[in-house]
């Protein structure tokens, strides 16, 4: 199969069922929030759900556009808030984070990984070559006799040498530390933003672990 005859088509560009215009109008009148998880564990997204019943009140004022909770694969239009989980660990993360920066007024680093790299950044002190050897060459479950394969393909991104905090790639506006931050801490920050108050995370809600 020769490369030049292949057409790439993304699912989100295909014809889709139209959204009920009334519902569309209601949702689009709300504050638009886009969310994404980079190199993390999804825990901060789940901590977002940990705001419990407050989420119902919040969803009256905000709507979620692109997110791993929705099927919107790209930010559909300019958003007010970008909720960012995870550190930056590959070239695709960099592109997408830059896309969020261009399309969101406010970006929040949520959780230890976004704030400083977090647990995945522990690999920053280990040379990559040793890591590769461990995972694919010296793996105890490697298929004996088989050729050692290291994943490398046009359809998977290239990994950065170090896991970077988001703010070392683009400007981030707010930070919520914690692994993960408590759901109520996330709620406090979002509620401040939604109601136009100055963001203030009280000392007793700030935690790094």
């Amino acid at each position: 199969m020769s490369q030049e005859t292949v057409t790439e088509i993304f699912s989100h560009e295909l014809p889709a069922t139209q959204w009920d215009p009334k519902k569309k109008a209601i949702e689009e009148a709300k504050i638009q929030v886009a969310m994404i998880g980079f190199c993390g564990c999804w825990g901060c997204h789940l901590s977002f759900l940990d705001m419990d019943e407050n989420i119902l009140g919040l969803l009256e004022k905000v709507t979620i556009t692109r997110s791993s909770f929705t099927d919107l694969k790209r930010i559909p239009h300019h958003c007010t808030i970008g909720f960012i989980e995870g550190g930056i660990a590959n070239d695709e993360n960099i592109e997408v984070l830059e896309h969020y920066r261009e399309n969101c007024d406010i970006l929040i680093s949520v959780g230890a990984c976004a704030v400083w790299g977090g647990t995945p950044a522990m690999r920053n002190v280990v040379p990559l070559e040793e890591c590769l050897r461990e995972a694919y060459v010296d793996s105890v479950t490697a298929v004996s006799g088989a050729k050692k394969t290291i994943p490398y393909h046009e359809d998977i991104p290239k990994i950065t040498n170090k896991v970077l905090p988001c703010h070392e790639v683009v400007k981030m506006d707010y930070f919520i530390p914690g692994c993960p931050p408590d759901g109520q801490a996330i709620y406090k920050v979002l509620d401040d933003l939604v109601n136009g108050r100055e963001v203030d995370l009280p000392t007793e809600m700030n935690r790094y672990d």
């Binding site: 119902l56 909770f69 590769l132 070392e168 683009v170």
Partner: protein, 495 residues
């Protein structure tokens, strides 16, 4: 002209994945793959750290099944310090039950989250509904009462975890040989009576049946499509107790075939004799299989569908779940069920099973007893441990070695989503063939592509878990800082 259809990213799942479907000039699917596009790397960087940090560090692999990782690590450390199952030492009743309580609470909240927030919207609105609607926001709009119940149930599960781990997520309870606290009487009463913003245990049992109702209703209306959707063959594996019933915390690894014949059964400490993991260039996720059966025939399915296939029954103390399981077993007349979307049925049964198992434990006075730790005798140190539990997504394994000074020298993890890699790829191919095969480009819609994602979501894959292993060699990637200055230039390592 051949086409490359791409879903990027796969959404309503945990972690980062991408699907690529190749179609030829005759509109036939020539290839369909789930590419796992992230990489983190725990097995190497844990080395050199003190062994007791492993259950705290490695639970950071996953934000939804952290209790499973925490317990898997703890079981491996029990072995290592000389009071684990590998040494033939039974765990003290209180710590074992405290660990189980946390594990069932996690299974409840994890399944509830995956099922209602990621899977139900596709069922309720249809796979080809407007993409803006197929999500939790759409669900709140369509059925706010259901969402309120889901929120309350999830909250109760999370508070169950917090009552012993100290935090809803990434808390700490298990330490080598036991736990650092029991379930206090106040915490127990709060969970049972539903005080202080919680629903009561009776309400939990009631709400925990919502998932089954939603599935049954959906199944009744769409039986033919649901049953025919990606019926893919695979062996089924889970941990079982002596009776052959699933045990989410401890047991033997049992693997059955389509006729439910036991084809392998092993003490998980011997897993290296049974399993290999293949690697492909196109994914960071490995492909485990049973060595004796070869890569194609020896790939196993794990998780809810595998567990309800393997388990003979449930304990009589869980009557509602037991009845639901019998109905499930009757549907395929004693054969293993290979219907991908029935995984959601199995998941709904397990929501109820977790709730009923918690009910049993919350009424057990052992949870308030004070005998929390088994202290190893001198020279009991073995320096090696393997832990296996049934995480919400399936069989999870941690294996560590440490030297005399307490320094981790080796770690290997085989996670549930990785076990499911082959069967998930079979599902992707099956859905691509039946939904896209033979169609002109003009006929292919976003909704048809979403069918592939519906197949993937049934596994509730946790690609964060699956990419704990170190992977890709770097190429030259320049990282420019917020101020436009280059902060890191990446280079390709010599191999």
């Amino acid at each position: 002209m051949s086409r490359k259809l791409i879903i990027d990213p796969v959404s309503k799942i945990e972690g980062h994945g991408k699907v690529v479907v190749m179609m030829d000039d005759n509109n036939q699917v020539t290839d369909a793959k789930l590419h796992v596009v992230e990489f983190r790397g725990f097995e190497k960087f844990i080395q050199g750290h003190p062994y007791w940090e492993a259950p705290m560090l490695l639970q950071r692999i996953c934000g939804i099944c952290f209790v499973s990782h925490h317990l898997c690590g703890a079981k491996a450390l029990d072995d290592m310090v000389g009071v684990g199952y590998s040494t033939g030492t039974p765990m003290l009743p209180t710590p074992e039950k405290v660990r189980r309580l946390a594990h069932y609470a996690q299974q409840l909240q994890s399944h509830v989250t995956a099922y209602f927030y990621c899977i139900v919207p596709d069922m309720l609105f249809g796979m080809d509904a407007a993409p803006q609607q197929r999500n939790v926001v759409g669900l709140v709009e369509a059925d706010p009462e259901l969402v309120k119940r889901v929120v309350a149930l999830r909250k109760w599960g999370q508070e169950g975890i917090k009552s012993v781990l100290g935090k809803r997520m990434h808390g700490i309870n298990s330490i080598p040989g036991g736990v650092n606290q029991n379930l206090s009487q106040e915490a127990r009463d709060r969970l049972v009576n539903g005080e202080d913003g919680l629903i009561s245990l009776d309400q939990v049992i009631d709400y925990a049946q919502d998932g089954l109702k939603v599935f049954k209703d959906f199944h009744d209306k769409n039986r033919a499509e649901v049953d025919a959707f990606a019926e893919v063959p695979a062996l089924n594996m889970c941990l079982v107790d002596e009776k052959g019933n699933v045990d989410y915390y401890h047991g033997k690894m049992r693997i059955i075939d389509k006729d439910k014949n036991i084809i392998e059964e092993l003490d998980y400490h011997d897993y290296l004799d049974y399993f290999s993991e293949a690697t492909e260039e196109w994914s960071y996720m490995k492909f485990p299989f049973l060595k004796a059966h070869g890569r194609e025939a020896g790939s196993v399915r794990v998780g809810p569908l595998a567990r309800v296939n393997v388990t003979k029954s449930y304990d009589d103390s869980c009557p509602l779940a037991k009845a639901a399981l019998e109905e499930f077993h009757d549907y395929t007349k004693g054969k293993a069920n290979d219907m991908t979307l029935h995984t959601n049925w199995a998941r709904a049964i397990e929501i109820l099973h977790s709730a009923e198992q918690m009910k049993v434990l919350l009424n057990d006075p052992d949870l308030q007893k004070e005998d929390l730790i088994l202290t190893p005798v001198d020279n009991a140190w073995t320096g090696e441990g393997v832990g296996v539990v049934e995480a919400p997504r399936g069989t999870l394994l941690h294996h560590y070695r440490a030297n005399k000074e307490g320094n981790i020298t080796f770690a290997n993890l085989v996670v549930a989503t990785t076990q499911n890699n082959t069967v998930m790829n079979r599902t992707v191919r099956s859905v691509a063939d039946s939904y896209l095969g033979g169609k002109e480009q003009a006929e292919i819609t976003e909704g048809l592509m979403n069918a592939i994602e519906v197949g993937i979501r049934a596994y509730d894959p946790c690609l964060s878990c699956a990419t704990h292993a170190m992977g890709q060699m770097p190429l030259v990637v320049k990282v420019l800082g917020a101020d436009g200055k280059m902060i890191d230039e990446k280079y390709r390592c010599a191999s």
